[in-house]
């Protein structure tokens, strides 16, 4: 199949292209320099249209047990947003914790072609993959959670050699078919099982005696030494606790230059100034990030309305359960491996704390200079459902709209925020960095997030409009691996996405040790824990894509 996309205005930051009119050529799902004189099977006239790579959501809870717990917890949320069977699309439901099928359709309808699940429990990775396999139209991948699993904590507290830890980390990534390592409230999920209710960066785990700082350093080093492209993906200590900005700043300095990704940093940027002892730490965070080139972040913007928070952080979720709206929540201790907490939440624009959270997220976006190191997320669904992204993009690109919204929120919060004085407006080029090129680079996806020759033809075409929310809500065309899947915001073809993974090398000796551990303490055998290729590819839907690791390099 040969396709020509003619005369679109291309934003392709990975290749330095900022709004140039270009033709693009697709041969059998890949972008090529030219068709070598062959007549295209299809041609699309994109004159006057904006062309970008398909968008990549690098942190979105689209699979894994906690999402299904959220689904089971919220039948009322589904009832309010039914999605009838329509054309090629099967029925489902939407809003905060949509069904997998609807998740895929809605992402694609917004021009997204990839999404990465950030909280894959090793023991539950199989479920995450099965759910993600039922998300159509989207490439997927997962970050596997370590840091509160007892095997790792035992290694660390025993003062094991970093080499051994590296082997375990690599083995886990491969067994779970992941693309990165996530750590959630380092050690805290385990500590909660021992009835510890707080665990600050330098506080000792009551049983293992190790600190979150040690855990972070050890895992960040492992990820780095294994050459895994995506830096350690960190959900830090003290999520949501006023004053946690200090913890976050200490976390940044404490990693000693190792690459680290701090996720949903909005929830970790709270000061204790003012009458209400709750204030924005965004400026200090942004300053630290601007100064530390080893750090990347995604924001985890909150937007007002009903949603559900789903997290591996059972400790903090349990602490926050009193704020559940509606009043119901689930926390779980899981398999000496991790945990989870699901707490529905309603962010209200008239509520002081929520309004300030909204400001803090936007301040963070606008105060960080380098768009290659900040990513557009709402931590779906924790800050808001992913369907709010076009609205968020407009808030970033349109200062007067932003200020109009600022005028509607809790006035006390608005007065405390510097947001109104920030003039910055994101450009289309910067949006393309944040949602495409940067995300692909951060994850080591060499053939995604750009439009150069050799890239997979995941392409989104928009009509430029003054109202950026409208523009990004409804692309004209979306191509997935070279196939037209969305036209005028409607799904016209359903394809299944790929699974992106890395396969770092490790010394097989770790397996004997793990086998014994599984036999003694776990409830399943090691061989049944490891996910086989047939489990992903067996039904012919998904393809496993392995991205290279560059072991041993240290920047």
């Amino acid at each position: 199949m040969l396709i020509k996309l003619t005369g679109g205005t291309v934003y392709d930051p990975a290749n330095g292209i900022d709004g140039q009119v270009r033709n693009l050529f697709i041969r059998d799902g890949r972008i090529v320099h030219s068709l070598n004189g062959a007549t295209p099977d299809q041609e699309y006239d994109l004159r006057g249209k904006v062309v970008m790579a398909g968008a990549i959501d690098m942190h979105t809870h689209i699979g894994g047990g906690k999402v299904t717990i959220a689904r089971n917890l919220l039948p009322e949320d589904h009832r309010a947003d039914p999605e009838p069977r329509r054309g090629l699309m099967r029925a489902g439901c939407g809003h905060a914790a949509p069904s997998t099928l609807t998740t895929g359709y809605r992402y694609a309808e917004m021009g997204y072609t990839a999404g990465f699940e950030p909280a894959v429990l090793p023991i539950n990775a199989r479920q995450a993959h099965m759910e993600m396999a039922d998300v159509p139209l989207l490439d997927v991948g997962g970050y596997v959670m370590l840091g509160s699993d007892d095997f790792f904590l035992r290694l660390l507290s025993a003062g094991s050699d970093q080499k051994l830890i590296n082997d375990y980390v690599a083995w886990t990534i491969r067994s779970a078919k992941a693309i990165g390592i996530k750590v959630v409230n380092p050690g805290g999920i385990s500590a909660f099982k021992f009835n510890q209710r707080m665990l600050d960066l330098d506080e000792k785990h009551v049983y293992y005696g190790v600190t979150p700082r040690q855990i972070l350093k050890s895992l960040a080093r492992a990820v780095h030494e294994l050459g895994v492209p995506h830096p350690l993906h960190v959900h830090g200590c003290n999520l949501g606790v006023p004053g946690n900005v200090e913890t976050t700043l200490n976390t940044i300095s404490g990693i000693e230059g190792l690459p680290m990704h701090l996720t949903h940093i909005q929830f970790h940027s709270y000061g204790v100034e003012g009458d209400r002892k709750f204030s924005s730490g965004a400026a200090r965070i942004a300053e630290a990030i601007n100064a530390n080139k080893n750090i990347t972040i995604d924001v985890g913007q909150i937007l007002f309305g009903q949603t559900v928070t789903a997290s591996g952080d059972s400790m903090r979720q349990h602490a926050n359960a009193g704020h559940a709206h509606p009043d119901k929540w689930v926390c779980m201790d899981i398999e000496c491996d991790a945990g989870c907490g699901v707490v529905p939440f309603k962010y209200r624009d008239k509520n002081f704390v929520n309004a300030l959270q909204w400001c803090i997220g936007l301040e963070t976006f606008l105060l960080i200079d380098d768009p290659w190191r900040v990513f557009l997320t709402t931590d779906h669904p924790n800050g808001a459902p992913f369907t709010t992204y076009p609205h968020l993009i407009r808030l970033l690109m349109d200062k007067s709209f932003r200020n109009d919204m600022l005028a509607t929120i809790n006035p006390e919060a608005a007065a405390l925020s510097t947001l109104g004085s920030i003039d910055r407006e994101y450009s289309l080029y910067e949006i393309a960095i944040m949602t495409r090129a940067g995300a692909a680079r951060l994850l080591g996806l060499t053939d995604r997030g750009h439009l150069g020759a050799g890239a997979a033809a995941d392409i989104t075409v928009y009509t430029d409009q003054a109202d950026k929310e409208k523009m990004f809500t409804r692309p004209d065309y979306v191509f997935k691996d070279g196939e037209l899947v969305v036209r005028n915001g409607e799904v016209v073809k359903v394809v299944w996405g790929n699974l992106h993974t890395v396969q770092p090398e490790f010394d097989n000796g770790i397996e004997a040790r793990l086998r014994d551990y599984f036999d003694r303490y776990h409830t399943m055998k090691l061989d049944n824990f490891v996910i086989n290729d047939w489990e992903i590819e067996g039904d012919g839907r998904s393809k496993i894509l392995v991205h290279p690791c560059h072991q041993g390099t240290r920047s």
């Binding site: 917890l73 039948p75 009322e76 009832r79 009043d327």
Partner: protein
């Protein structure tokens, strides 16, 4: 003008969603538009005239011939009157906000669920979960009055939030379960586990003896000033609860459910 009436041509096989047949949605429609109203029946859509003989012209006053498979009758209605001649299926009066709904026979599950206003009268029996919240919802009936002339099923007023349910017959188990406020009065007997996990609200129970769970504590016999006021409020509804004799009775006050730090009360009329 005569009531706009819908008479079933033959018994229903699958369940029918009768929610479009309410005054709000029929007013201003021509006979032809009404005849071609699209109704959900089983897994198909069907025109109203294919199921019903339609007569009359007063859309403020609607009558539908009953069936235990006639669901969602009166859903969300805000005005006028709707009479089900015979039985109603599930969800009769769901989300209703105003007007008057009368079922001359019995009603199925979830009658008056999440009722927001108006008066629902069920002349026969009501099924389980009368005046309750839908699964996952925390708020059941939040306003309005429900009258049951016969017996009510289990779990009357589950998560009830406000308003009154008046049952002239008996009530099943779990009367007022998880209730947060409102009043349920039962003239006849009640089943086990009354007030289960109720937080607030009043169960006014006439039939005795009843066994009340261990998580209710006895506060003794009292003459409560609010009762005459409450019962006076039911005058005009033509129920046994407004009889003057009942107004001055002493009641035994049981408080609970202590499992949820409950401040609800079961008042046993002596």
């Amino acid at each position: 003008m005569t009531a706009l009436s819908f008479t079933l041509k033959s018994p229903l096989r699958q369940r029918l969603d009768a929610s479009p047949l309410v005054p709000d949605r029929l007013l201003g429609k021509s006979p032809k538009e009404i005849a071609t109203l699209d109704l959900q029946y089983g897994n198909r859509r069907i025109a109203a005239a294919d199921l019903f003989d339609i007569a009359g012209d007063d859309a403020e006053s609607v009558r539908i011939s009953g069936s235990p498979k006639l669901d969602f009758a009166g859903r969300g209605m805000t005005r006028g009157s709707l009479i089900i001649d015979g039985d109603a299926g599930a969800y009769v009066g769901m989300h209703m906000k105003g007007g008057r709904l009368c079922v001359s026979g019995s009603a199925g599950l979830y009658a008056a669920c999440e009722l927001k206003g108006g008066i629902v009268e069920i002349c026969g029996n009501a099924g389980d979960l009368l005046g309750s919240a839908l699964p996952g919802n925390k708020k059941g009936m939040s306003e309005g009055v429900v009258i049951v002339r016969g017996d009510a099923g289990d779990r009357v007023g589950d998560h009830m939030r406000r308003g009154s349910i008046l049952i002239e017959g008996n009530a099943g188990m779990y009367l007022g379960a998880r209730m947060t406020a409102g009043t349920i009065a039962v003239r006849g007997r009640i089943g086990a586990c009354a007030g289960y996990a109720m937080k607030r609200g009043t169960l006014l129970v006439y039939g005795s003896p009843v066994s009340i769970g261990a998580t209710f504590n006895d506060c003794g016999l009292h003459t409560l000033g609010f009762l005459p006021l409450l019962l006076k409020g039911y005058q005009g509804l033509n129920t046994c609860f407004s009889e003057t004799r009942a107004c001055r009775s002493r009641v035994r006050r049981l408080v609970g459910d202590l499992s949820v730090q409950g401040k609800g009360e079961i008042l046993l009329v002596a």
